[in-house]
């Protein structure tokens, strides 16, 4: 958004709730576990007691957590939801999985297709040019496959499959499941001044050479060089201020360093705080004209919350025991993946589908990795040591990411009783999986079992039987929460129009995943970027015409 607006000559002020990012200091990309005294088990070995200060591993560049001190959220009694927040320039894109999948044409018309959920106000063809622009700009690996569920894009070559990935591909072939080169926002060729990937596998720690995509390094820092960006760090947006005509005229924010309230005037406001945080800001921006929150005449803000359905399964693969050692790091993530392949099947018992992610290889050794093997093998001494050496690199994991259809019991709202340390009312979450998601998780279990067994693995874990504590992810855990300020053509059932512009407030836009109408089995970041690009062009044009 910032990058496109500044290219179009517009002055942008960025309010960031966290500090500035300094990659050369903050990213610990190539550090070893023993370069930190606790080596990743936390001070006092807290991870042994179920508490980790490193939710995604030592040196992860998320710079966030499931709970932030002084900034709580609440969850309705009986529900489960977790919310991962990063407060730093670039936010969660500094560490995310870089999986970059276009939505399929049918993903934009889910209701038309199966009568569940709601259609988007735009089609694949309308967004496709922006997928092209985004992929060309940030760099995405992949291959042309002609699979309807996984539209082809502008791709850079994907590195070859690792040994275990080759076995997954063989197994999938026998089972008639496609398993294709990965689509990751990692550049394998020099791109716009960024050097190609050096294949250290540590994408989640932040890339010092900016060879993967993060909004900080690929969009914000270059945009700052245009001189059109003012970045205000440690600025926690509290409220959007409107005038008598209902237009946003200023943003009120807390300067976290001095704990004082400040205001900055604006001609237009673009909200992109992460879907739930964006809905919180709008719901907290109440006035006599907007008593239920800014641009919330539809009552839809906070509603339609979804996450991805997550289920994973792993097995030791005997064929990999004693595998000749080599550097299997590669990109920070899988080199192959399985796109949804049963989109034509109507009798699955659940709507929509999932894709499969693949894990394995000789990862960087670290504490915790052999707990399962120690418990299984028991004993001690030379025999245990030989066993662990033989098993290193033999684990192959499959993770499903499936579509969660919005339901009325899953939403967020302002908790009337709780404020954060800045006095800002916090979110209260309601989250329920339905039978749809549970059946999908069971289907994942059957598929993963078939693939791993075909490779020679032995599966002992039973299929999930009930939603609670039985393998399916907790709501929010996959960190694909979205849909809380949805777009649509009807102002009665949506907050934003097809350009992510508020129906009721012409100079208010939303540019994260809050506008999404559905949450297909494709990780949201690529679509966030494509949609934001389209929104930015529209906003610039409306400003040029004097409409905004």
């Amino acid at each position: 958004m910032t990058q496109v607006l500044t290219e179009l000559g517009i002055q942008v002020t960025l309010l960031e709730a966290g500090p500035m990012l300094n990659p050369s200091k903050d990213f610990k990309e190539h550090w070893w576990p023993y370069q930190t005294p606790d080596r990743g088990m936390g001070p006092g070995g807290s991870r042994y007691f179920g508490k980790s200060p490193y939710p995604f591993g030592l040196y992860d560049a998320g710079f966030g957590d499931w709970q932030l001190e002084g900034e709580p959220y609440t969850v309705a009694p009986g529900d489960k939801f977790v919310w991962y927040r990063s407060r730093i320039v670039g936010g969660r894109t500094n560490h995310y999985g870089r999986i970059s999948l276009r939505f399929a044409d049918y993903d934009f018309a889910p209701y038309t297709r199966d009568g569940v959920g709601t259609d988007w106000p735009i089609t694949y063809d309308e967004l496709a040019p922006y997928y092209d622009k985004t992929e060309s700009f940030i760099g995405v690996t992949g291959s042309k496959e002609g699979i309807r569920s996984a539209p082809d894009g502008v791709f850079q070559p994907c590195p070859p499959p690792r040994v275990h990935e080759m076995l997954v591909q063989r197994a999938c072939k026998q089972l008639n499941i496609p398993c294709i080169p990965s689509r990751l926002a990692v550049i394998t060729q020099p791109t716009h001044g960024r050097p190609a990937c050096h294949y250290c596998a540590q994408c989640n720690r932040g890339c010092v050479s900016a060879s993967n995509y993060s909004s900080s390094q690929v969009q914000i820092f270059p945009a700052m060089k245009t001189g059109r960006v003012t970045l205000i760090a440690n600025a926690m947006a509290r409220e959007l201020i409107t005038d008598s005509s209902g237009k946003v005229v200023a943003v009120s924010y807390i300067d976290k360093i001095t704990r004082t309230e400040k205001q900055i005037k604006c001609r237009a406001a673009v909200v992109a705080c992460g879907a739930c945080e964006s809905s919180r800001l709008l719901l907290n921006s109440k006035s006599s004209r907007f008593p239920d929150g800014l641009a919330n005449g539809s009552g839809q803000i906070g509603r339609n919350l979804t996450d991805s359905v997550g289920y994973s399964l792993s097995a030791r693969i005997p064929a990999l025991e004693g595998l000749p050692r080599h550097n299997s790091d590669g990109m920070g993530g899988m080199h192959v993946y399985v796109p949804w392949w049963l989109w034509e099947k109507k009798d699955l018992g659940f709507p929509r589908g999932y894709h499969i992610e693949v894990g394995g290889g000789f990862g960087m050794p670290g504490p915790g990795q052999f707990h399962g093997l120690c418990a299984r093998h028991e004993g001690y001494g030379k025999e245990l040591k030989t066993y662990l050496r033989s098993q290193y690199g033999t684990s192959v994991g499959l993770a499903g990411r499936g579509e969660h259809v919005p339901n009325p019991k899953t939403y967020c709202e302002i908790d009337p009783e709780v404020v954060d340390k800045f006095g800002i009312p916090v979110l209260r979450f309601h989250f329920q999986w339905t039978d749809n998601e549970l059946k999908q998780a069971r289907h994942m279990h059957e598929t993963f079992t078939a693939i791993l067994e075909t490779m020679g693995g032995v599966i002992t874990r039973p299929a999930p039987k009930s939603v609670e504590g039985d393998g399916i992810s907790i709501g929010g855990e996959i960190i694909h929460e979205l849909g809380t300020v949805r777009m649509g053509n009807d102002p009665r059932t949506s907050a934003l129009n097809k350009y992510c512009q508020a129906h009721e407030v012409k100079n208010l836009f939303v540019a994260d995943a809050a506008p999404f109408v559905s949450n297909p089995d494709k990780n949201p970041t690529l679509t966030i970027n494509a949609l934001a690009w389209r929104t930015a062009e529209y906003l610039a044009e409306e400003m040029r015409k004097g409409n905004v």
């Binding site: 070893w32 576990p33 023993y34 370069q35 005294p37 606790d38 080596r39 990743g40 088990m41 001070p43 006092g44 070995g45 807290s46 042994y48 590195p159 070859p160 690792r162 040994v163 275990h164 080759m166 076995l167 063989r170 050096h198 294949y199 250290c200 596998a201 540590q202 693969i317 064929a319 990999l320 025991e321 004693g322 595998l323 000749p324 080599h326 550097n327 299997s328 790091d329 990109m331 000789f362 990862g363 960087m364 050794p365 670290g366 504490p367 052999f370 707990h371 120690c374 418990a375 028991e378 004993g379 001494g381 030379k382 245990l384 040591k385 662990l388 050496r389 075909t454 490779m455 020679g456």
Partner: protein, 208 residues
């Protein structure tokens, strides 16, 4: 071993490490030259770790000696690499324990149990017992099937000691080398050796 010595020294240059680590890195560098026989090398480390350079923070010297003995029984030196003491596993465990009363209690309680039990069985504390007396006790407490009755506290403690010694060993430069991890380095092209592909396919249900 040569890159381990190098890693040790570059660590020191980060200023976060004490004289003890510098000496250990120096010892590793000597080892890297490969001139010391394995047993001697192991002994150098035992002395350095137990008697000289490391002052335990949470455990008493006796408790620390016992933990060190246990650590080298769990992950001993073999033809591939040195053992858990050389890798600094006991010092790492002691460091974590010094930050956690809960963890300290697990070790002081577990080590006291080992001593009491060994005195009953052999008339001496654990660390003074003969090697075959030590292993005879571990052969019992290293398995969950003995986890009920009077051995239960020992079995429970050994699970802690095993996983933490294993963690301390494999998260060290020595353990990393033992596993043959060759990554965390920059390469211009990612390639998979044909030898590895052939090996896995030959052993897999897919054949060649």
């Amino acid at each position: 071993m040569s890159d381990e010595g190098g890693t040790g020294f570059s660590l020191c240059s980060r200023d976060a490490f004490s004289r003890r680590e510098m000496l250990r890195a120096a010892a590793l560098a000597v080892l890297a030259s490969g001139t010391l026989p394995l047993a001697d090398a192991q002994e150098v480390h035992r002395i350095a770790e137990i008697e000289g350079l490391y002052r335990p923070k949470a455990l008493t010297p006796h408790e620390y000696r016992t933990l060190a003995a246990l650590a080298d029984l769990i992950v001993p030196a073999d033809e591939v690499s040195l053992g858990a003491v050389a890798a600094g596993a006991p010092a790492w465990i002691d460091l974590l324990a010094s930050q956690s009363p809960e963890l300290t209690d697990i070790y002081t309680g577990g080590i006291a149990w080992l001593d009491i039990t060994m005195r009953r069985r052999a008339g001496s504390d654990f660390v003074s017992a003969k090697p075959d007396q030590q292993t005879a006790l571990l052969d019992l407490i290293a398995y969950r099937k003995n986890g009920t009755g009077e051995l239960a506290p020992g079995v429970r403690f050994f699970e802690w000691a095993r996983k933490m010694v294993v963690d301390g060993f494999y998260s060290s430069p020595l353990g990393t080398k033992d596993l043959g991890y060759m990554g965390n380095t920059a390469v211009s092209k990612f390639e998979v050796p044909q030898e590895a592909i052939d090996y896995a396919l030959r052993r897999s249900p897919f054949g060649k």
